[in-house]
Amino acid sequence: MIRLRKEEKIAYICILPSFILISAVIFFPVVKTFINAFYSLDLYGNIQHFSGFDNFKRLFREDVFLRITINTLYWTVGMVFITVAVSLVLALALNHEFIGRKFSRIILILPWAASVMISALLWKWLFNSDYGMLNRLLRELHIISENINWLATPKTSFPAMIFVGVVISIPFTTITFLAGLQSIPNELYEAARVDGANKLKVIYKITLPLLKNVFFIVTTLNVIYIFNSFPIIWVITRGNPASQTDIVITYLYKKAFLYQDFGIASALSILIFFLLLTFSILYAKLIYKRGE
């Protein structure tokens, strides 16, 4: 018993620096934001007086609030859905032996290794209506006959940015699916083959059910990563015109650091906090179910 206490002491000393760092940089500011959200704040973000739910009410009354909520929904659901679907098919394909497999893995890594900011910038250049390569490529393929000004209206710029997000999210998702696929024992496939099951049936009856866990984990992680995809919108449209292509995170940033309305920004932070917390609890459950 005394021995255990000594061990525990060592453990607490070991985790202390990490605990302090995380508390100071992440948990403390979360608490501070919570408090701020219920106070009226001046232009420098200093607390003036208690104001109850005023900040939240002002937020909901913003003209663009509905637009931004819808955008965020599209952004998240659309991007996660397409990313997961494409990555799953891609992982199934990459799980085969073929010539160029090693090389294709290298290419697949590119958007993951590069800065999201730089990827966004590269695509912004491609989307340029007169000088961008995308229009030229699509014209040569006879998909379009006239240059499209991709970033001129939200109708094209927003889907274009979702596309960029998908391209950036595919590497991690695919590689994780691949890791999941490779952990499925070969005997299962062989047994199915002996039983005379065809390829599709094998995928449907063995592969997909066994990937269920991986599937949930990449989906949750992707939802959260997408909330970190600030640079895509910030670099490509900056949420313009008139916040028509903003999502909650870019809008929050503008409210705080361009308009210095720290009250609304804090209220919005709290909403995002709860959204992310829901997903993290979901995620934690998935991880712990694996039997720690």
Partner: protein
């Protein structure tokens, strides 16, 4: 005969899926390289040319004068190396404790760490900004390095804990019976054995810090302290965007991290999924 045809059909399907997706992924990077080799006049030609008419490497020389590129490299290096060192120094003991010692609150600590992994910095950015201003840490190296380290604890601790747990305890126990102290055992035996995991963590954290944009955009405003990502972002604020220069800088910024990334890619999945997928 039948089986061979089936195999060929499979292969065809594989290529039909893999080739288009990879081409889309490769496309911007190819154009980045082509654009970086064009003269300024050739940038603003419509329709644009696929390949530079006369490829030049001059852009790669000019950019060092056009922007303070050497300075940006230095700053990015300081942010990334500083973050890596601090993150590892703090995450190593914490990972050792969670992997080797059964202490009360262990699961709670791991849960806290997991929650931070899920947190977008955007949620805390306002309060963090105020805090940084209060401690005079805006526009400082230390402000960025400390913040980055906090956001990298989660990944590092999960990856390192996984690595430590996978190493059999027997060797350490034997060493301790032989009279080694706990500290010597960890330094002499455990850490060398966990080297692949530590290297993977180091490289990942380095790349993360090298590529980061949101926090450095918010906490650094003086040009003197700009990182490469800020320097590159600064291009599009200019009156006329010289895309050939921009692409050359992007190329120089991206290539080193891609090479580093390829070295550790295999180790990443288990860390990023908190050990749920090996």
């Amino acid at each position: 005969m039948d089986i061979r045809w089936g195999k060929r059909l499979d292969l065809l399907l594989v290529y039909l899926v893999v080739v288009p997706v990879l081409l889309i992924i490769l496309f911007p990077f190819l154009i980045m390289i082509f654009t970086s080799l064009k003269v300024s006049n050739e940038i603003f030609v419509s329709p644009p040319t696929w390949f530079p008419k006369k490829p030049i490497l001059k852009n790669y020389i000019d950019i060092w004068h056009y922007v303070k590129l050497a300075n940006y490299f230095k700053n990015s290096g300081i942010y990334a190396i500083g973050t890596t060192v601090l993150t590892i120094l703090i995450a190593l003991p914490a990972s050792y404790a969670t992997a080797r010692i059964r202490f009360r609150g262990r699961m709670f600590f791991l849960f806290l760490i997991l929650v931070t992994q899920m947190f977008s910095p955007i949620v805390v950015i306002i309060s963090l900004y105020k805090m940084m201003a209060f401690y005079h840490s805006l526009n400082t190296y230390r402000g960025i390095i400390v913040t980055y380290s906090a956001f990298n604890q989660a990944f590092s601790i999960w990856l390192l804990t996984g690595y430590f747990s996978s190493i059999p305890k027997d060797i350490e126990e034997a060493a301790m019976i032989d009279g080694c102290s706990r500290f010597t055992t960890v330094v002499r035996i455990l850490i060398p054995l966990a080297k692949p995991g530590i290297v993977a963590t180091v490289v990942f954290v380095f790349i993360w810090a090298w590529n980061e944009f949101l926090l450095v955009l918010t906490f650094i405003s003086t040009n003197r302290l700009w990182s490469l990502t800020l320097g590159i972002y600064g291009f599009i604020g200019k009156y006329k965007v010289l895309w050939n220069y921009l692409m050359a800088v992007s190329f120089l910024t991206t290539i080193p991290v891609i090479i580093l990334f390829l070295l550790i890619e295999r180790h990443l999945v288990s860390g990023l999924t908190a050990g749920a997928i090996k």
